[in-house]
Structures are given as C-alpha cells and as structure tokens.
Symmetry: C2
Amino acid sequence: MAYDSCWLSSKVGLANFEVRGETPITETINDELNQKTELVDAKKFIFSTFENLSDAEKSIFDSFEIKDEGYVIKDTGVAVYVVGMQDKGVLYGMFHLLRLLAQKLELVGIELVENPYNDIRMLNHWDNMDEKDHMGSVERGYAGNSIFFENCAIVKDKRRIKDYARLLASIGINSVSINNVNVHALESKLITKELLPEVAEIAEIFRKYGVTLFLSVNYASPITLAGMDTSDPLDENVKAWWKKQLAEVYDFIPDFGGVVVKADSEGRPGPFTYGRTHADGANMLAEALAPYGGLVFWRCFVYNCQQDWRDRKTDRARAAYDHFMPLDGTFLDNVVLQIKNGPIDFQVREPLSPLLGGMTSTNQILEFQVTQEYLGHSKDACFIIPQWKEYFDFDTYAKGSGSTINKIANGSLYGRQHSGVVAVANIGNDANWTGHKLAQANFYGYGRLIWNPSLTAEEIATEWIQLTFGHEGKVLEIVKNVLLDSWPTYEKYTAPLSVGFMVQPHLHYGVNIDGYEYSKWGTYHFADCNGVGVDRTKVTGTGYTHQYFEPNIALYENIETCPDELLLFFHFAPYTHILQSGKTLIQHIYDTHFEGVIDVENFIKKWDKLEGLIDVESFTNVKDRLHLQLANAKEWRDQINTYFYRKSGIADLHGRKIY
Amino acid sequence: MAYDSCWLSSKVGLANFEVRGETPITETINDELNQKTELVDAKKFIFSTFENLSDAEKSIFDSFEIKDEGYVIKDTGVAVYVVGMQDKGVLYGMFHLLRLLAQKLELVGIELVENPYNDIRMLNHWDNMDEKDHMGSVERGYAGNSIFFENCAIVKDKRRIKDYARLLASIGINSVSINNVNVHALESKLITKELLPEVAEIAEIFRKYGVTLFLSVNYASPITLAGMDTSDPLDENVKAWWKKQLAEVYDFIPDFGGVVVKADSEGRPGPFTYGRTHADGANMLAEALAPYGGLVFWRCFVYNCQQDWRDRKTDRARAAYDHFMPLDGTFLDNVVLQIKNGPIDFQVREPLSPLLGGMTSTNQILEFQVTQEYLGHSKDACFIIPQWKEYFDFDTYAKGSGSTINKIANGSLYGRQHSGVVAVANIGNDANWTGHKLAQANFYGYGRLIWNPSLTAEEIATEWIQLTFGHEGKVLEIVKNVLLDSWPTYEKYTAPLSVGFMVQPHLHYGVNIDGYEYSKWGTYHFADCNGVGVDRTKVTGTGYTHQYFEPNIALYENIETCPDELLLFFHFAPYTHILQSGKTLIQHIYDTHFEGVIDVENFIKKWDKLEGLIDVESFTNVKDRLHLQLANAKEWRDQINTYFYRKSGIADLHGRKIY
C-alpha cells in the first residue's frame, strides 16, 4: 500500500492462536492475525463467540455481562481468551488485544470486559459522485477526494475501501453512510438497479468488518428518478414507490442499514413542499424500511437560510427545537432524529442543542463533525476530543440532575431503542487519509470515545500517539502536548467567547469578521461601538435560553452567571463587561488573540524537536501545516484585534501592536 | 436582425443624394443611405471629400477649417453638402445628418463645422476567447458574451461585428481593441498566423467604418508563443522576435493600429521581471511598430496588489504617479501611456489621476470605463456622462489656470502628438447590446462627448432619447430626468464621499463594507468608532496630495477646504466633522442613503408612466432593472447606515429606521 496504515501499522501479532467459527467476520480475524510478522509466542490465544466455547469454558465466562457487541479478554492461565456474544464482538476484542500488544502492555492475568456505551456508532460521508459539484468530490473534505467515488461512478478498485473498513472496525464503528446528505442527480441513483450491484460490493466489504451500510437519499426521488409529479409523503403512489424501491435495495443488500435524509434544509426538497410535517416525511420512509429492520436517520438541521439580517427576532439557534419539539412522540420506532451537537453549526464553541433531552419520546442520535469544517480544515491542528468530552458530560437536567448528554445519546435516559452517535468523517484519498497527520487522532478518538465516553482525552491521545509513533517518551510528551492544547489554542485566536462564524463565507476557513454579518444565514454577532454578542435571553432577547431546563435556563439567562466561554452566544455584552475571569471583555479578546499566536509558535518550537524521532513524512506534514496555521492565527489575531479596537476605541492594557 | 439598432433605428433617409468617390468608406455611406425607407425629398444632398468637389464648390468650402476627420454640413441653396477632408469625415458627417433628420431638426440654411476634439477616440474590449476564464467571456461585461469570440475561437458569423462597426462610426469612434488586456493563452495567438487571417477579416469590417483595429498583447509572448526563455525587453532575440511577429501582423492588416499592453499589473508579466523599466518595455514594442506607424498603448494601472492591510504607508493612489513620473520623457514618440481617470479604479467618485498633467513630455491617453464595473453592472441605472464632464473640466493647474483634463487628454496642453480618450466598452451579445437599455446612453454619450466635450450631459441625453424613443415630450422629460439623476443617486446610496470600494470583493456589485478592508488590494476605508476615511495629506498621511499642483495641493490638504464629495478620499474625518454643507459627516451618510432609495423609488414611479409610450421591450427591460436597483439600493442603505451607526453610536437626527 502506498498509503498510511495509521494506528494499525504495528506488525506485532500472535504466534499461537485459534479462531473458532466460520463466518465472514472470523475470516477477517484470521486474515488480520495472519498478516502480522513480529510474533509474541508466550501464550496461546483463543478467539471465540460464547456459543463456540466448551461447557467448561462457558462456566468461566458465564459470570461476565457481555452485551451484543461487547467482549471479554481474559487470561485463564491456559490461554488468553477473547470472547464475544457475536463474532463482531470477537473482532472488536481482537483489535483491542492488538492495541495492547502494540502499546506493549501486560497481558499476563488480564481480565477486562468491554461493552460499547452507544449502540449506533456511525460515520456519515459527504462524498459526491458528481464532479461538477462546486464543493469538489467531498463536501467539506480536506484530505483529497472520495475513496468511494471517482469520475461520476463508484470506484472500480475497491481495495482502499477494505482498508478503510479495517480502520473502522479497529475503533468500533459499526455503521457508515457513503454519500453526501446533499444528494445530487447521480447519487440519487444509488438505490436503483443501475448502481446497486456495485453498492452491494461495498456493503460486502464492510460486512466483513462488522460495518452496516447506509445511503443518503434524495427526498425528491419519486420525481427525479420515477418521473412522478409529487413526492408528497401522504400520496399512495409515492409510498408505494418508496416501498418498491427500498425492497429492491434489500434484494441486493439484505442487511442494508437504512437511509440518511436531509430534507427541507438549506434548499433540499422535503415534506414542507406538500404542507406535510417532518414526521409525515420520516414515517413514510420508515414504513417502507420497517419490514427489513431498516432505520431512517432524519436530520434536524432545519432553519431559515433566507433570513433577513435586519430581522432580529428570528434566531437560527431556536430553529431545530421549534421545528421538532411539537412533533415529539409522532415518529415511528425506526425513525431516529439526527441532531447536531450545537444549535448552530459545529463551531469551536457552542452550547448543547436543547433538542437533546428536550424530546422524551423520540429516538435521537447525536451528530458530531470530525471533518474540521470550522476548525481549521486539516491545515490548523485541532484535536476535538476534549470538546466532545465536555459535550458528553453536559448535564441537561432533562430528568433532573445527572441527565447528561451521554445518557441522551445512548438512549438510556428515556429508554429509547435506537440511539448512539454519528459524525461527519474527515477522511479522503490522501495518502495519510486525513490531510493533517494529527487529524488522524480525531478520527481514531471519535471511535474510541463513543465506544467508551469515560476515556479521557489524554488517554485517547496517548493510545493514538503510541500506536502511531511508538514509545519514545519525548515523542509522547510533545505530541500529547500539541494535541491537548490545540483546541483551546484554536478557540483563542478565532471568534471570541462562542460568538462564532467570523469566517470566510462558504469556505469557512480563515477570518472574515463581518463575512456573515449582513447575510441571509442567520449567523450574526451584532458588534457595535458598545459591545458584541447575541441576546438570546427571554427577557430582552430571542428567548432561546428557555429551550433549556432549569437550572440551565437561569444560568444562561443571567449575564453574571453565564459561563464566560458561552457569554457572547447568550448575551450582547459591553466591551467593559467584567468576565468571571476578572478581565474586561475587550481585554480578554486582545489577550486570547495574542496568546493564540504564541501558542502556535510554541507548537512549532516543540514540533521541531521531533525531527529524527518520528518518520520524516509525518514530521514534515505537521511542520508544514503548523506554519500554515501560524499564518492563519496571525491573520485572525490582527483582524480580530484591529476590528474590536476600531469598534471600541479601547486600547490594549499592555500596549501590544494593534493596527 | 433580432437585435436592437439602438440610436440608428430611424428609417428616415434621403430621396435625392449623391456620394462622390469610390472607397470602402464611400461604399459604406451608399449602403447606409440606401437602406432608409422613409425618404425626405425636399432637397438634394451631396456627400464628398473636399478633393472631389468642383472648383466652384471648393471655393464655397475653402474658408472652413476642416481637419483630418472633420466635416462641414452646409446648405448652399443648390444642395446640402456634407464635405470632409477624408472619406471618414464624410462618413461622420453623414451620420450627423441622419441624426438631425431623425431628430426632425431643420436643415434649411444649415451651416456647421465639426472637428473632433480628440484625435484618438477609442474603445477597449475586455473580451476573452478562453471560456475557462472564470470571469466569463467578457471580463466585467454585463451584457452577455463577446461579439468577437465564442467557443475559444473567433466568431464565424461576423454580421454583428459589422453592425457594431456601424454603431461605432455613428458616434465617431475611430479605434478599437477587441481582446482583454488580461491576455490569456488563446488570445496571445491573435498576433500569429494561426489567427491573423480571421483577425484581418474583422479589421476589414472595421475599416469600412473608419475604425482602426488594435490588439492587446501578452508581454510574455516570446516565452509562451516562441518558447524562448526570456521576455527581457533589452534582449536582442526578444526584440527581433517582436519585430518579426508584428511585421507579420502588418502583412495581414496593413493599417493595424498597434497594441494595448497591461504589464506588471495585477499579476500580468512585464519588464519588472528582468529589472527593466516600463520605458524599456514600451519602447521595445514601439520600435517594432514604428516602421508601420503603429502605436503602443501602455497602461499605467500599476500598483502593489499584494499589499498588507496592516501597512498604512503604502498608498495605492500614489502608485501610478510614483511609477511613471520618473520616466517622463524617456518613452518613444509612438508610445502612449494610458491613464485611468482616477488614481484607484473607476469608482463612483474619485479625484483625477495626478499623472494626467504631471507628465509633460510623454504621450498620454485618458481611460474611462463605460462598462459599469463599480457603477451597478447594468442592473442599476447610472448615466456616467455627467461624471466624465466633471473630469474633463477639472483644472490641474499643470501649466497655470485653465490646464483642464480636456486639454491634457487631447494633447494640446503640452503639444503632444498622439492623444485622446479610450474607454472600456459595455457591449456584449445581448439583444440590446448593453443589458440595461439605458446603458446604451453611456455608450452613445461616450462617443459624442469625446468628439465634442463642450456638449452638455443634457444635450447628449436628449439626442439619445430622441433617437431611441422618438419625440414624445413626456418621454423626453421622464427619461432625461432618470438619466441625469442616476449618477448622483448611485453615489448617494453607495460608499460615501469618495471613500470607495465598499463592494462585494471580486464581483464589485452590491455592498460589502469591510469586503476589502483586510485584503491585499490596497483599498481601505479605516472606519473606526471615531471616524472614517484615508489620510492622504502630506502632514499626517501618505503624502498623496502633493502629487497635484498648487492650488489643488492646498485645497485637498486642508480638511476645511477639501470639497465635501472628496473628503474621505483625502482625509480621515470624525463622524462629527461639519461638512461644507453644514451637516455632520454621520448625518450626511444617513441622509444620502435614505435619499438614494427614495430617488430609486421615484425613478420607478416615473418610469411606470412610460407604459404605452415607448416600446414594450425597452419599457419592461428598464422597469425590471429598476426593481433590482431598488433592492440593491435598500441593501446599501441599510448596511451602510447600520454599519456606521454601530461604529459611531450616533443616532439619526430624524429617527429613521437603522438596524
């Protein structure tokens, strides 16, 4: 392979092992173990489902609570066993074992039980078949083109898809959708006979790694594919067409996972056209999928993207909640609402979407974005795991104290059936998969974190660094330091205190403070000579604060208690406002923006010490990008500081250079 | 023809006429007169060069001072004579006569002498052959695609070019360049055998209408066309190549006018690459053209387009003067420096370029822009003639009082040989040539004004309206009113007081106040909480004011004497600054922006009264665009007012709606 094996590059494997059973997945386990060349022969290793154990063995493993996709790794003295309820669990256990080997951790006497915290652990690809799409072949992709599509067709050579499936399984991802939620003309045909034979080939590759295939569908397909004159979800012909068409998908792919739908969102077609609700739209698809156990992931990213900037009453942050809360309880059981972590759009800092926990009687899946649309485009380093950790731990108080996002995502808070986490992938056909070498850690960490949200960001970083760069202590220290500081650093030099969206329009990389200020997109900061921020309080603002539960309402409503880092999301604050940190708002802006650049300069200094300690390609890849990041950070610093100095007329206390 | 005949649509012609001589141009005169169908038979009309008059006739016309391209129209009692020194003069006289007929003006006893005020009366087309160019096939064109090129080739059907040549001759244009000054790969080949046969066909069409053809050339042609490794103007092989190549052009087009060159400007190649001066570069081409009488138009639009916005010392306004003044007197006689009217770039209001009049010993041609790059893209009405009138009348004091731009453009101030005016055309293959019907008046007026700068804007508007829409008094009143108010209106609702460039980057239509504020383009406004504008004074600013002559230096240097309309071009002024009008700066901004929108609303009300009085197509064309203009004006009003209210914190005295 000319491309990177990422965290699976270790050649350390087992000399003496036994894999029980004969399924596509046990075949995968055998393949994986057989390709290792540096063999540990101290022990015997047995890989088996519980069912394939002898009665004597069963009695040893009986007491462990192993769930569907969970596993036990246990040294019985006779052998080290990797036991799952399903072959998929065994596969995950094997990757866990290989990880331990690569990290040179002790296996003697090992005993651990792993069950995934979330049932659905998914990635969405925003990959286009249609090259004419102006976003290129991966929308918001910064690591080359699609690994699934090229030249308006599915790739002929599918070896890289297999390697990708292997990466997914190694971090516990069990579901994937392969085409953009903005479904264009060609991708609409993925559910038709014209393309299904090849889609089925991809599904088969994924199946061997325990990954279920989903497709994004075009809500207007009855019109665009079948030439009908409507896509009305209550129209009997439309219903019949979807039943027939999705049945055809199952003819080719018996374990097809279902569909992802972006409807009535940013210009995409949907049920609104026909005066129907999102529930009407989603349930119609759900009925067609139900006989096969298929799911509908219905995205809640619905807002008015033709807003007039003069209209101070409309608040994009409110939109998802306002649209979907009234529909709570009206969705069929195999509909899952897909909700972005924040109410706006994957900014460096946002509060949690109040829809998470708001709905009690509807399946929900939490959506993250691994691809760095607003977080530096794989040019700037930004290790996102600490952000997701904060989000997972956020207490919504939806059912009293302890109602964390964690428990909402995994369905346990309200006892929902289909639950979990999904994210927009950051991989492409670049040799290192993610453009920025360090962005591999986001991909790796996403899988690891949603499997086990109690892992710390530091633990995840350590795993990835050791698997990727080996065991040199200095390497671990430096890379961990850069990774763990990178999100706070990115936050420092970009839009301050969660006000968000001071980016280049459309591109979303680089600073443009007023870029969206007079636009139709609903993302404003309202900076004037007195202050900056969006008043989302009930008393004087848009009332968004009241989409939360108490005591969060009171916390956010009051400018004195609102956490500093969320201040400008909830309040219009004067430049002279004293933060909880004791600084004025304006001084905070200056300080953080000067600091952010110094941080990046320090990253570069630290990284330079790695020369010769890690492979040249990775060293150079990150070094080059850190220099791009430095230029970006300086531009942010100077434009933000100049902008706010010109607006406020208040000088920096420390007399640093502002233009 | 499916397209508009513009101001030549009148069918009124002569029953009884005689055209003397047999040249391509007299053929054109015959053709033109023969196609008329509503014939005036009261008189006999004789069209002749002076040379072709009988001795008796000559004695009548001997006393008139007729210059090269001038003519006399005189009713001798026997006949009405149109007499020129050249057949071209007779052609211009014929179009003058037809104009008088169409305007129903009295011919009995007529006696007038017309000599063009400017020798060179030129249009530049920024037309691309290369469709891949992202600007479309006419850079800054808003009236469809090129009439010269299509599908990466010269148009096969050249009938429209003939109709265009007719339009040109009818307003006295005698020179035209047909390809973009940004010369791409394909257009570079226009001077080669591959394309010259077809270019020669175009030249022949133009020749019959007295129009000389020029081409824009790529300074790097020795490299891109000939595979040489340099374009150094002092390299003997480079010189030899140009001589050979331009000789080839003359083989095909014996009266080829010469070349237009944009070098070392906005990324175009030029002599700077080789450490040579603009004089070195221009003279090298001039030497190659001299044997054939060809000219080099060398554009002075040279500035640093990679400026750092933090750099307050570099001033784009200074650039042309700083670059070219030291070279005054070093250019060969057939080099003509082409100088934009303003020091920045065709804004709605700029001071005159100080290079005009600054150089005493170099041929200069004044460059206007008919295409409305910054003036509303043929969506907004903007009759530019009043602006050009002001520019022509501006007194530079270069040789004492009375040293107007007029006299610099036509060469009389310093007795220069090759002089005149050039402009970027606004026509394309739209049915009405100019997109906005009223934009025809800019094209028409450009030709008329540079022929005779003493014409008033109102006289020119009246001519165009009567020729285009006939003689209904109400039509004349309304259209004239809209035309004459349109530039002041456009100025009102766009960037205030000549600060300029608050437009959408690249596009240059619509408001984006900070769109260029943190860019590399050198076009900043520096608005902060105290004021706005660019300090270009000698004492505290960039020193640009001192590129003028006294008393203009003193006039501009002093904020109290600087004309209001140029205030923010020369000064950073506090919002509380009292203008000569008695208003504060901030109140002026508010007032003009509210007024601008009301003006456009009034245009619409007035225009609606024309329904049924003019042709439906023109009525609807303008009506639709006035509504686009209204939306644009409102967006400008609200963004500008909101921006400056947020910056200044000073409320509108009249409490009008600001967001």
